[in-house]
Symmetry: C2
Subunit: 352 residues, 2 copies
């Protein structure tokens, strides 16, 4: 196959980890006889520095022309934590999500047997955890009307959802559930919010189209608890944008393998694959960052975007092999030898 | 002192656990020479059954006339999880919060050395945790305009905050921080929400009035992570209503002592004290529920509402003694003898 991939390395450790994924993807392409056409484009703080814009039009065009986007991470301390700053890297993120129509963020949380002791949870709590949170990504309070009144002394934000937006996300949830244990949990706050009641109503109406799927409805506060208590009791969860923001991050730390968790954002125009970790500026340029989450995101890309399952499996296998043989960066090395980011990438590419 | 306390036992195990707190409070009153005047009133599902209303006016009058309110729990399966039900127990909760002006929910999370192994977290993660989350309770998306448009196919909720509402909550946060380690964390989503930007701005403006307090600002998704990773790195956190709903519940399960966690809701007209656990209908009437969270809520009441510190300390001491001597309900008994709810209450009252 000929595959056009847009490469948005971003800020901080983004470029380093993306480089390793490129090596692995190229190796897989050679092995399976694909031709990859990479196109790099700027996003995040580095795009602000260069173009005054975190998601420039030129970058958007590259993404629109691509079969998939491989993304690193964005964010830089000089723009961070300053809500009053005029241009901020995360605005690029939101603009990109909206313009590419990336309506569904797919966030798996699973464990690696060899890393389970890194979890803040006790082994018996986390063992067997393998869940997916599907976060709606282009609606809700992130994109509703907001502003000030009363000379700036009152502020408001609006959470809006349409039935169609909910159906689109829920459909994907049902479909994913059908490929797994056929359990779907709809997370909302229907005891308070009207938008949540529309979520619940819409999902309830869809149940008849997926008679094999068992659907449960839980309040977001209850889920925030159970994710810590019995994460292995969940399978596929669907939820709106803001709840998803909080719950996916909460879920990401329970596995003890945050540095390894990939994600996908499914779009109307293209789909995007990225590690869930941030740009980790303190480590940038040091060749120490763990590239495995980005490499595993590339595996998700092969599977989801291109339907190439053997290629995805080859990547996952070589990642497992690197873990088993201790070819890992310092965050996972413990008292053993730590490999450099680039060394891990080279090893994976060679052994794939 | 003469103390007027409104008693809202509520549903499920509410009446049983409240009964034990009454025994202990009466014993403390005898010991310290106070006169307690208890007035009971209906709330929750039992109030719906009797008056068609989860928070009847008659109950409101009892609360308004009281120096403090001791609350059990509300919620009953027959009204639960049905967002379309006309009257629901939780509407009573929201009405009560609004009519009593209960603007600040104070939720401590701490550990008991003897119970630390009940935590889903590893010992080294949870040890030393002693934090307070201050949740704004009468504003935000809970009480904003909401509704449907487009023939019911679009739903919206509005999150609104005024500077004055934020100041009121933050002031309490600064004051509590001054009595502790002088660390305050403001939790928001100021990278996305306008209401969060007003929160951050308002708290930043208040910093100069509390020069000894070190204030940090963190995004809600980051806090959802750090609460699981390093809960002992937090001290006092302040946040808006919905974030507080999620984070206080998340925090409640990390200690492993959920059945023991008390809470206070500070109001304009009176204050309310309640265990953080729910009405646990499965256990209702069985005399097995753990009454300690309600008893410790009574301790908070003595301290916060009446300024009676020795009385509060006496209650906490006898609770610790019951834990040390194993006079506990089945949830804490392990393989040892389990005491009945009423036996624990009797023992506490006798030994206070
Ligand atoms: C940076 C921020 C706007 C973003 C979000 O809230 O969506 C981030 O937290 C994420 O989850 O990707
Ligand atoms: C029952 C519900 C409305 C309520 C809330 O969301 O405030 C509950 O979850 C709580 O935290 O007291």
């Amino acid at each position: 196959m000929k595959l056009n991939i847009a490469l948005l390395a971003g800020d901080g450790i983004g470029p380093e980890v993306v480089d390793q994924a490129v090596k692995v993807v190229n190796a897989v392409a050679t092995k399976f006889n694909h031709e990859i056409n990479w196109t790099s484009a700027l996003t995040g703080a580095c795009a602000i520095d260069e173009c005054g814009e975190p998601y420039p039009d030129s970058t958007h065009e590259v993404c629109m022309a691509a079969d998939a986007v491989l993304f690193g991470a964005i964010g830089h301390p000089k723009y961070d934590n300053d809500p009053k700053a005029k241009v901020r890297p995360e605005q690029g993120l939101l603009k990109m999500r909206q313009k590419l129509g990336l309506f569904a963020n797919v966030r798996p949380t699973f464990t690696f047997p060899s890393l389970i002791d890194n979890s803040p949870l006790k082994r018996e709590r986390i063992e067997g955890t393998d869940l997916i949170i599907l976060r709606e990504l282009t609606g809700g309070i992130y994109f509703g009307e907001r502003g000030r009144k009363d000379d700036g002394n009152t502020a408001f934000d609006t959470c809006t959802y349409t039935r169609a937006e909910i159906q689109r996300l829920a459909k994907l949830g049902f479909e994913i559930a059908m490929t797994r244990s056929k359990k779907l949990c709809c997370v909302d706050k229907a005891n308070v919010l009207e938008s949540s009641r529309l979520w619940r109503e819409t999902v309830q109406d869809m149940e008849k189209d997926y008679p094999e799927v068992t659907v449960s409805y839980e309040f977001v506060d209850a889920v925030a608890m159970r994710l810590v208590q019995w994460p292995n009791s969940y399978d596929v969860l669907i939820t709106e944008n803001l709840f998803g923001d909080i719950l996916t991050d909460e879920a990401s730390v329970i596995s003890g393998s945050m540095g390894l968790m990939p994600s996908a954002s499914k779009g109307l125009h293209t789909s995007l694959y990225e590690p869930i970790h941030g740009s980790y500026p303190q480590a940038a340029g040091k060749d120490i960052a763990n590239p495995l989450a980005t490499v595993l995101s590339a595996a998700m890309m092969f599977e989801d975007a291109f339907g190439l399952h053997a290629e995805a499996a080859a990547i996952r296998d070589v990642v497992n092999k690197s873990l088993a043989e201790g070819v890992v960066t310092e965050d996972l090395a413990g008292t053993n030898k730590a490999y450099k980011t680039s060394e891990v990438g080279d090893w994976l590419a060679k052994n794939v």
